[in-house]
């Protein structure tokens, strides 16, 4: 306790809520309020309606939601496989090998997503691999952008893994594959789980690289929100944004609900 007087404490709480509420809570609240409105000029929104939601959950927007869900699920799965494999194999390497692998796999965090989009666009718009105009190019860009996060969280978990378990299994005669499949991966499941949630959320909200790449028949939700607000449909855009946030939250909640035996260890 830093502040002992009652008045001082109330003062610091007032400072906290005076800063935090307008900065963090107000924007989200405003989007939620706008999604139920038809008109907003002045202090309060007016014309309460559910029409924004009915247009946000059908037609183009529904298509965009499905597109986003499929892309995010695919990208998270690919990123987990790629990042998890790299993290596991890095753990078996020497110091220099580990450093190199870490530098390689963390690099996409530092590279601007727009540049990732440009790079993927440049690389896959010409032979030998022609993917421009297909959903795959979006999936590839998303995978690149989220792999680093999968790698980081799995590699942190591998480092914390108690070697006694695998040593016990190996000393009892388990083959390396068996140790990996029955001991190490089950122990890593909680962190793989958390990494999947993070990757999914990031991919759901990805806009920068997607703007460079999306084909007309594969429009993810963030792009849909942008096109809606860009043509002035702010209220529909808000409803779509609420759908985006809600879906992301639901998936994160579901992922965090998955308990494996290793969670209780």
């Amino acid at each position: 306790m830093l502040v002992h007087s009652r008045r001082g404490r109330w003062a610091s709480w007032a400072v906290f809520f005076g800063l935090a509420l307008p900065v963090f809570a107000l924007p989200l609240g405003v989007i939620a309020a706008a999604s139920f409105a038809t008109h907003w000029s002045g202090v309060f929104p007016s014309g309460p309606t559910l029409d924004n939601y009915s247009s946000a959950t059908r037609g183009e927007s529904l298509q965009a939601l499905i597109t986003s869900l499929v892309t995010a699920a695919g990208a998270s799965l690919l990123a987990l496989t790629l990042g998890g494999w790299a993290a596991l194999s890095a753990a078996a390497l020497g110091k220099r090998g580990r450093r190199t692998l870490e530098a390689l796999f963390v690099l996409p965090v530092a590279v601007p997503s727009v540049a990732v989009g440009l790079a993927v666009l440049v690389a896959f718009s010409k032979p030998p691999i022609l993917l421009n105009g297909t959903p795959w190019i979006v999936l590839i860009a998303h995978t690149v952008l989220v792999t680093a996060f999968a790698y980081q969280s799995v590699s942190a978990a591998v480092r914390r893994l108690d070697p006694a378990y695998e040593q016990a299994a190996a000393s009892l005669g388990a083959r390396p594959w068996y140790v990996l499949w029955r001991v190490r991966i089950p122990l890593l499941l909680p962190s793989l789980n958390a990494a999947a949630g993070l990757c999914f959320a990031l991919s759901m909200g990805e806009l920068s690289a997607t703007m460079m790449l999306y084909p007309p028949d594969w429009v993810p939700l963030p792009v849909q929100i942008f096109t809606a607000t860009d043509r002035g449909a702010l209220f529909t855009g808000s409803a779509v944004a609420v759908v985006l946030m809600g879906t992301t939250m639901l998936v994160l909640l579901a992922v965090s609900r998955i308990r494996t035996r290793a969670t209780y260890r």
Partner: protein
Amino acid sequence: MPSAAHPTPATAEPRSASVLTRGSLVPLARGGGEGAGRGPRETAGTVRAPARSVPRFVWALPPVAALGLIFLYPLALVVQQSFTTAEGETSLQPYGTVFASEAFREALGTTVWLAVGSTVGCLLLGFVLALIIAFVPFPGGRAVTKFIDVFLSFPSFLITLALLFIYGTVGIANGLWTDATGAASGPFQFLTTPWGVLLAEITYFTPFVMRPLLAAFSQLDTAQLEAASSLGARPARIVRQVILPEALPALAAGGSLVLVLCLNEFGIVLFTGAKGVTTLPMLVYSKAMLESDYTAACVVAVVNIAISVGLYGLYRMVSRRVGA
């Protein structure tokens, strides 16, 4: 398979592993951090790898190859394209052209000052908020921490969308003003200027500073604060002389991460829709998508990548040194 280094129980029960954990192996494995932890694992590796098996680095090759195909190869092509003129020759001329253009220099300046400004803002705001959550606890403080995590999982452009309703020409703030004064229009017209981007970036990136700070504060021994305060130090002095020195590594790590993220931010700038605010990522986008000038886009991208990766390397070094 015999284990040379460690005594192992003879029973094949899976439970024996946890018995082993509670036994003598634990101090050995967890004793001196990473260095001590590696010892037994490498011993186990020699046990696991028979002579005929492939070297270990081979297992790292498939993911590296995959990453190479989808990330490093495209990146190399961008660098190559940035050195290629319209006639297909390799030269530095594209860089000369881009560096000479007014738009690029303006974008570079805007990007840097916006990123630095946002970082400073995030550090100040994040420090104050984290300080209160950690040291002046209130009921619901944990919920606030949860909310921060949720906030981080939302896309950045939502903030700009929200600011349109709050500070837009017909938004809440201007509505309040016109209602109160009867004026025709409100004073808040900054949304399409760099200040709007600055506000959105501070809003969105402050949680990125608060997270490492809260982690650092939770490790701070509160007895130090009690001792300082019982010796008569005022809160301001405790913050300055006890808390701030402890928080510096976390501030450095969070600050440099936010700096890189701000340099790379695109969604906020795109949603602002202001013609006057062009940052480097925005310039990459408009050169490639609107002007179809891929060489110029690649040059700007290479410059942006160089700045960000350099700073990110610095961040990794700082955070490794402080162990964050």
